[in-house]
């Protein structure tokens, strides 16, 4: 483990998380830190516990032992929606949107949820105030333009093509103005070109909005293209958490995961858009 | 003196418990296997009771003399068969079509079926309340010291216990029964193993409905016969299977006993509000341990 483990300025700090389903232990003392504006990727073979870790960090599950701290506050007992209100955003492997509502309404609901962060009463007042309503409409319009979905604004979100759905979901989550974005396999099921485009989009988004990101991923090009730091899970244990360079060089990681690493040393720098790598 | 009171309390609560268990058994069996909560189960119980009643009315004068226990039991069996046949019809026309449907709509559909049962009963048998006398062999009571133990109550308790034992043996020690349990646990796996799941479902529905009809016949002399029988028993049966764990026969059995005791004790302490302890107990269980005594957390 890197000596930076107890760095005092982690935005998100998970300490010694244990989680078991019945008698099957899935996470063993996992400690993880994410700095502000950092892109952090969690990798590991299937069954390593990545999804469970995700669920524990986002509040979908409670850890049996250990703590999750956000901006130096203990949030381990907070529910998922409470964490979102504190600044979390989450996208799902299969994009989740509201299928029978229009694209426009989907965005509207996300924006209104953002307004409600000031408390239920703030939400009620915002619903009544004309300025707030206009603000939502304008922000919604902007998001439609940003995602290129203006022409489809009245379509039911469930009828969108897969790529559009993913963009819509991302737009909805960004509408919440989160500080940390949790992305569950954002490029799952995509072609190489789509993956590249997604990587660029995420980098842009991260830079523009100064977000921290935590992703799980399988595709190594995406991982090394995005990550500022990488954590490696194996059988529910964190075996390494460091910069991409260090991870690449880590013998244990190579043994466990990158056993068939490509022969030629790939650059650690992010790839240029439209790279020829298949 | 006190012992007699306790004995009476015990017999009363066990009678209620076994009567409710007889109704709940079929309901929980169908839920456990098909995952359909059949509101209309109470309606078919009622139809079974009325069927047994009509049969008794028809046969008694033919056979002459007072009705015998054998006739009573025979009536129950016929009721069971009749309702089982109705169940097959319901399965074909309604239950099969509910397989892809959302839970809320399934509940509404089975509730609609209950309305149909009530309507049909009112049309065929009218609104009058009927009181059915038990056969002389089951009438009257046994005297145990100071305690008065009605024979009919003992009969019902015996019937409930026999039903429980029979179902447990069937489900755990016979091949078809274990098949039902396996399918309840994992229908997909069962299909993979080549089991004709549809046929087992149909058989389970038939058994569940047969139990409803049988219960109707057996309990005929225990309460007044009226079209409101369905709703009264359905809620009690729900309470019992929720407390016991939905899908579990032993859960329904012990849940019924527990609720019966709670209700009897509650009645004794608070005589003015019949049924209140029952609701309180059901609510408490639903909150504290929603999977019931014997249920498994999904």
């Amino acid at each position: 483990m890197s000596a930076a483990m107890n760095h005092p300025t982690w935005l998100l700090d998970a300490q010694r998380l244990d989680k078991a389903y019945g008698r099957i232990a899935v996470l063993h003392g996992v400690s993880l830190g994410i700095a502000a504006e950092e892109a952090h990727v969690v990798i590991g073979p299937n069954g390593a516990g990545k999804t469970t870790l995700f669920k524990v960090l986002t509040g979908e599950l409670r850890a049996d032992r250990g703590q999750v701290r956000f901006r130096d506050q203990d949030i381990s007992h907070l529910s998922a929606h409470q964490r979102v209100q504190r600044g979390f955003g989450r996208t799902f492997q299969v994009a989740k949107v509201f299928p029978r509502l229009s694209v426009q309404d989907n965005l509207r609901i996300a924006l209104e949820a953002r307004q409600r962060r000031g408390g239920l009463w703030a939400g009620v007042l915002a619903g009544l105030s004309a300025t707030a309503v206009r603000a939502v409409a304008e922000a919604g319009e902007q998001l439609l333009i940003d995602t290129g979905l203006q022409r489809q604004r009245r379509l039911a979100a469930g009828t969108l093509a897969y790529g559009d759905r993913k963009r819509l979901e991302l737009a909805m989550v960004l509408a919440l103005e989160p500080q940390v974005l949790f992305l569950d396999e954002p490029t799952a099921g995509m072609s190489a070109a789509e993956r590249q485009a997604t990587v660029q989009l995420l980098k842009t988004v991260q830079r523009q909005r100064r977000l921290a990101m935590l992703l799980t991923e399988h595709d190594m090009d995406v991982v090394f293209g995005l990550a500022d730091r990488i954590s490696v899970l194996h059988h529910g244990r964190l075996i390494a958490s460091d910069t991409p360079q260090a991870i690449r060089a880590d013998a244990r990681v190579q043994e466990v995961y990158l056993g068939d690493a490509p022969a030629e040393p790939c650059a650690d720098k992010p790839r240029a858009a439209g790279g020829a790598h298949a | 003196m006190l012992l007699a009171d306790i004995a009476t309390l015990l017999v009363n609560s066990l009678t209620w418990a076994m009567a409710t268990f007889l109704v709940a058994a079929g309901l929980t069996l169908v839920f456990g296997t098909l995952h359909i909560l059949n509101f209309s189960h109470g309606g078919f119980f009622m139809i079974g009771a009325y069927a047994a009643y009509s049969l008794g009315n028809w046969l008694t004068p033919l056979l002459g003399g007072p009705p015998s226990v054998v006739l009573y039991l025979f009536g129950s069996l016929v009721a069971g068969v009749v309702v089982a046949l109705l169940g097959l019809l319901v399965d074909r026309l309604v239950l099969r079509r509910l397989s892809g449907v959302e839970d809320a709509y399934v509940l509404i559909a089975t509730y609609a079926l209950l309305l149909v049962c009530e309507g049909a009963t009112k049309l065929v048998w009218g609104l009058k309340y009927q009181s059915v006398m038990p056969p002389p062999a089951l009438d009257g009571a046994l005297l145990l010291g100071d305690a008065v133990l009605p024979r009919l109550s003992l009969f019902i308790i015996a019937a409930g216990v026999l039903c429980f034992v029979g179902l447990e043996v069937f489900l755990n020690r016979t091949r078809p029964g274990r098949l039902v349990k396996a399918i309840a646990a994992d229908p997909w796996m069962a299909r993979l193993m080549g089991v004709n799941v549809r046929r087992v479902y149909t058989a389970t529905v038939a058994i569940g409905f047969a139990l409803a009809g049988l219960a109707g016949g057996l309990l005929l002399a225990n309460q007044t016969l009226s079209p409101s029988l369905a709703s009264a028993f359905v809620i009690q049966a729900f309470g019992v299977i929720i407390v016991g764990g939905m899908g579990s026969i032993s859960g329904a059995f012990f849940g019924a006993i527990l609720l019966g005791l709670i209700d009897a004790v509650g009645q004794w302490l608070l005589p003015g509000l019949p049924g209140l302890p029952f609701f309180l107990a059901m609510t408490a269980i639903l909150l504290l341990r929603p999977e019931g005594l014997m249920g498994r957390r999904t």
Partner: protein, 341 residues
């Protein structure tokens, strides 16, 4: 719900809860109220009474659908709020002597409080089946308590309830005469319907629709799902109680029958028959079913049978209800070239 249709059809399906705008629906409401106001001039006493009950039941159905159609929450016990409202209005006006408007408002509060308490308990678990049964059980409990309370008249209920004399600043409206109270029903129910329609279009209403379609996504947008469901339950309970409260002066008697579970299923019937995906569905259902009940009233058991069969066929064959069927016909009639609304 019906199986997902092809992309083109889905794209032009009414999105969200209804395809219309607030303005259009309010116009429809005013038209219906105008028609309703003509009733006393055209129909006999008995039918006027039924018309009044239809208005009240329409609100009952709409409140139910706020929960069910909008929020995806199925309650089998709405009758408890209806009865609570009716009994509260009766007690407040007859036994406490409060003016009608105050009694009516307080009846709504009673309904809201009851819903708050029941909701806090019943919504603890997420599975719909438990909630449905718990609401059924609580309603039965309320029924039991009402039937056994001497102050509430036990099984006979409270009779001899008077229609009110409204004293507003400057004028006094004697609603005891004839069927004048009917006009108050139309006004009151019209107001409640407008309120319901407005709620649907608020951010809260949209959040309810969202959490019905994907509660997990809603949760991860920061929407407190359970709180919203509870709030919806309280609103529905309050409005149901306000509707029930109008029964007290209209029928001039309140009985435990109002809390019977068959009354809980009436709004379910109205909603499904009319179409739960449409705002006006429960209203149409209330009108149609009242007609059915009226026609079959003398034939014992037939109303149960017909109602049951109707409901069964709607669930099995026509899940969108009458309005759903009409909607499909109209859309099939239009050319496929039409874009989404």
């Amino acid at each position: 719900m019906s199986a997902p249709s092809g992309t083109a059809a889905a794209a032009s399906a009414p999105l969200g809860f209804f395809g219309g705008s607030l303005r259009r629906d309010l116009a429809i409401l005013l038209a219906v109220m105008a028609l309703g106001a003509l009733v006393p001039a055209l129909l006999n006493r008995g039918l006027i009474f039924i018309a009044g009950m239809v208005w009240i039941n329409a609100v009952f159905g709409l409140a139910f659908n706020l929960l069910f159609g909008l929020g995806g929450v199925l309650s089998f016990g709405q009758a408890m709020f209806f009865a609570a409202g009716a009994y509260a209005a009766a007690v407040f006006s007859q036994q406490f002597g409060l003016p009608f408007a105050l009694a009516w408002g307080l009846a709504g509060v009673v309904g809201g409080l009851l819903a708050g308490a029941v909701g806090a308990v019943a919504l603890r678990r997420n599975e719909g089946v438990y909630f449905a049964i718990l609401t059924l059980a609580f309603a039965e409990l309320v029924h039991l308590l009402i039937s056994n309370t001497a102050l509430l008249g036990r099984n006979d209920g409270l009779a001899g309830l008077a229609r009110p004399v409204l004293s507003l600043p400057g004028l006094s409206l004697d609603l005891r005469e004839g069927d004048r109270f009917y006009y108050l029903i139309v006004l009151a129910c019209g107001g409640l319907i407008a309120l319901l329609r407005w709620t649907v279009g608020t951010p809260f209403g949209r959040a309810l629709q969202a959490l019905k379609q994907d509660p997990e996504r809603a949760e991860f947008l920061g929407i407190p799902v359970r709180l919203h469901r509870w709030a919806g339950f309280v609103i529905a309970g309050t409005l149901t109680a306000l509707a029930g409260a109008l029964v007290a002066p209209w029928a001039q008697i309140v009985t435990p029958e109002l809390a019977h579970w068959s009354n809980s299923t009436n709004p379910i019937l109205y909603t499904l028959l009319g179409g739960s995906a449409y705002f006006w569905g429960p209203v149409l259902g209330a009108v149609l079913l009242s007609a059915v009940f009226y026609i079959t009233r003398t034939l014992v058991g037939v109303s149960d049978l017909v109602t049951g069969l109707l409901l069964l066929s709607v669930v099995l064959a026509l899940p969108g209800g009458v309005l759903g069927m009409l909607d499909r016909w109209l859309r099939r009639g239009r050319s496929a070239q039409d874009g989404p609304r």
